[in-house]
């Protein structure tokens, strides 16, 4: 049972961690782009 739980924790947890990383990275990039637009309008 321990092996089964470990496999699912790694699989599901891995997808969650990767998805959160993507969300944070996208947010950071959007912020950087919008800050660039504010400091350089036009």
């Amino acid at each position: 049972m321990g092996y089964l739980i470990a496999a699912y924790l790694i699989g599901v947890g891995g997808v969650l961690v990767y998805a959160v990383y993507i969300l944070r990275e996208r947010r950071a990039l959007r912020t950087a782009i919008s800050q660039g637009e504010e400091s350089n309008p036009g």
Partner: protein
Amino acid sequence: MPPSSPDRVIPTLHRASTVALGVCAIIYGILVVNAPLDSEQGVIQKILYIHVPCAMAAYLGFLLTAIGGGLYLWKRDERFDRFAASAAEVGVFFCALVLVTGPIWGRGTWGTWWSWDLRLTVTLLLFLVYLSYLLLRSFTEGTERTARFAAVYGIAGLAVIPLNYFAIDLAGGRSIHPQNLEGGSLGVGMVMPFAMGAVTAIVAFSHLLLGRIDIARLRAQLAEREAEREMRGGDGSPWDI
């Protein structure tokens, strides 16, 4: 300036895939918990419902890497190169999950974490081929030459997939890895959790891929803006000459 089509479509699809993934994950969880126990392996056989779907997602990632590479060589459009790189990254991620869940299953059934069996070895090779693809790209990011080389490499790497799939047949009965799944090879009540596992893995793959493509698009947009700013004469700091 109104946002261009990918600026709106990719984030919208990404949000929709989040909802789809949540729904699939709940159904998948219920089906796996209620799946019947295997008469020989017992509860550990349920690793099948995560191990094989991850392998399918990894294959899909590498196939899309080759398709993206082929389209880049044909159209010379940067977006296809970004698509190929994103698919490779998500494919490598799922291949890593295969290489982690497999040994856990092996330890529970064969009593060993790893064996230099042909299927296991070729899976490791497949992982290393596309990990190298990502590393080579990261060392020489951004040039047209890199994109061309990566496209050819991504297409050539695809040759490992049939070798991986047919490794058990090629081993001629000496493989300790179970046979590939075929119609009717799953027990009663095991088809639905397996099918739902495959659907969930593909939805998870799509969700991660869309997010990863969006990151690549935003990075390119940011680099373009920075290049434009530099062209206009630096960032206005007193150090600009």
